[in-house]
Amino acid sequence: MASQHDGAIDPLLLSRLGASRASRRRFLGGGAAAAAAAILGPSFLAACGSKNEAGSTSTSSSESAGPATGKLRVSNWPLYMADGWVAAFQKASGLTVDYKEDFNDNEQWFAKNKEPLSRKQDIGADLVVPTQFMAARLMQLGWLNEISDSAVPNKKNLRPDLLNAAVDPGRKFTAPYMTGMVGLAYNKAATGRPIKTVDDLWDPKFAGKVSLLSDTQDGLGLVMLSQGSSIEDPTTEGVQKAVDLIKEQKDKGQIRRFTGNDYGDDLSSGNVAIAQAYSGDVVQLQHDNPDLEFVVPESGGTWFIDTQVIPYTTQNQKAAEAWIDYLYDRANYARLVVGVQYVPVLSDMTDELNKVDPKVGSNPLINPPQATLDKLKSWKAPLSDEQTQEFNSAYAAVTGG
């Protein structure tokens, strides 16, 4: 939370007061543009739409969006959008988009919207972008509309691992928006050596200079993998073993803080030498501090996946599907990825990314090589109610006590 732009006072910070588990999305961009976007929101983004972007790549999408008319209300995480992208979509589809950056935290969003959703009342959004575990929860509760295959022909462009995921085979209800890697970020100047494994976190040399993520899955995943435990089929024993190790290290004073996405400042300033981190954050942080590195540990890292879902209270199903289809066009999506700098959910993006920005296409944190992809695992989704509760309680006993 604290990590946003250097020195600039961040207006969105205030809206997040009360959430220690902040969104994992670092605010993109360093300075005035980001601040302005945060203040002005959609109007700013819309105003940024440049003419050459709009329309050049999207003729096919606009055809498939034919029957959709009217207004589409999108609720997304703060600064999780590329400049001009919404305007380009509006131009291509003829739809009016009411783009809101009011999705700050999965659990908070759920707490706020569960009442109206359970009564099937409009929640003011036709398309929402929760993280996969939350999307799975909504799906289980029967609160999502199916995304029609015929309205989203570009779904074929999805990465096979995402398309065939056990959580939602064929992605009938949850359309991935962006993925990111959870791994280790370190400050070369502070560590004095490259970091390769999770065990490096427990090196006495870094006592009090280590931060872990407070989110249960993101925080425990790396540690469990390093202990040889599975996260694809997690067990109580596996979770407890990781929790015990973290507790031991915490009691020793090894772990400085449990963080949301506010580890950036501590890492940049050298207060923390190694942090569990999200890949997209580190891409941003590297702009300001070239000493920072991101590594997927040898024992493995984890994915997080944010998905677009259509609540069953949507007022414009067709427009929401048109949005998803437009987004799943590789050329359109490349522009989005270059803006938000997370890992694409579409396959074979290298060429399209290079067309927009070769630096992004060759950035291993955005377009990871196969060797890295092979090391990444995903948590079983959805976890059963009992598991969710058990795992959350076990980890909270360490992070909150």
């Binding site: 604290a2 006072i9 910070l13 205030l14 007061l17 009360g18 959430a19 220690s20 588990r21 659990e107 908070q108 759920f110 707490a111 569960k114 359970s118 929860r137 509760l141 009090g208 249960t216 915490k250 004073g253 772990i255 400085r256 803080r257 449990f258 506010d262 400042d265 501590d266 300033s269 050298g270 207060n271 109610d385 969710t388 509760q389 959350n392 309680s393 909270a396 992070t399 909150g400 006590g401």
Partner: protein, 291 residues
């Protein structure tokens, strides 16, 4: 509540009740009702889906013993931090309020304004600013390290010191203002009189100024101690994994673990301890006059 059946002759008696009616209604809706909801939650068991938990009332006092035994450390830590912060506020604010009230002359309003000025910046930003000031490689830590004054962790940020410091800094204004008001009210002639009776400066302070400023001391301590006990932002940003306060635990239980009864029981415990503490303190200072 305002004597519905009273005759018109008694209207003058009813008037005060009518006047406090809005405040009573407000308290009823926003305090009494939530309070009993919280009380009920704290004695309930949680069942059903964790996503949409159903609470059933069961006189489950076990929630309280569980809260006590599990979070004993945090409870003790919370009140230690809050107490130390309150004392620090008092020690720092008293001379300041004294100077503003008696010595500042025409600069009185200016100084008061300067005291209040930082509080126009939001709480969160002010707290985060301390992260920069106290950074491990910052000049404050370097300077203190050179003279060997760093705590055992070898840093300032993410230690108890930083948390207590943050609490003191963030709440001190609530000490300065009531102290200033009560000092300002003191009739200077009383001080002159004590001097006329050959009282030393020290004696006129302990016998005249301090007793007369007690309402301010009391009000200020309460205004600092109570919010400091419930604070979780300072521990979150300036603290480490070993400085969690009750506020952090409650927040985690409510938002992550979703054990509403446990969180409610902890909140009640916090409230009860504060209440008892405040009553003892008020009695000890022997004043019923809050500023």
């Amino acid at each position: 509540m305002a004597g519905v059946a009273s005759s018109s002759r008694q209207r003058s008696k009813i008037a005060p009740y009518l006047m406090i009616l809005p405040a009573l209604a407000y308290l009823g809706v926003f305090f009494v009702v939530p309070f009993f909801t919280l009380l009920k939650t704290s004695l309930s068991t949680s069942g059903g889906s964790i996503y949409l938990p159903t609470l059933s009332f069961a006189w489950k006092f076990g929630n309280y013993s569980h809260a006590f035994s599990t979070y004993q450390d945090q409870i003790i830590r919370t009140f230690t931090y809050a107490l130390v912060a309150t004392l620090l506020c008092l020690v720092l604010a008293f001379p300041l309020a004294y100077v503003i009230a008696f010595k500042a002359g025409r600069y009185k309003n200016l100084i008061l304004g300067l005291v209040i000025l930082p509080f126009f910046v939001t709480f969160l930003i002010r707290t985060i600013a301390w992260k920069t000031i106290l950074a491990d490689d910052g000049w404050v830590v370097t300077a203190l390290g050179t003279v060997g004054l760093l705590p055992s962790e070898g840093r300032l940020l993410s230690t108890s010191w930083a948390v207590v410091g943050g609490l003191t800094y963030n709440w001190i204004i609530f000490m300065v203002l009531p102290l200033y008001v009560s000092l300002e009210k003191i009739d200077p002639r009383l001080i002159e009189a004590s001097k006329d009776l050959y009282s030393s400066n020290r004696r006129s302070f302990t016998k005249v100024i301090l007793p007369l400023s007690m309402p301010g001391v009391l009000a200020g301590s309460l205004l600092v101690f109570i919010p400091a006990s419930g604070d979780f932002i300072n521990a979150d940003y300036l603290g480490s994994t070993k400085t969690t306060m009750i506020g952090n635990v409650v927040q985690k239980q409510f938002l992550v673990v979703k054990d509403y009864p446990a969180a409610a029981a902890l909140s009640m415990v916090l409230m009860a301890i504060i209440l008892v503490g405040v009553m003892l303190y008020t009695r000890a200072l022997g004043t019923e006059d809050l500023v």
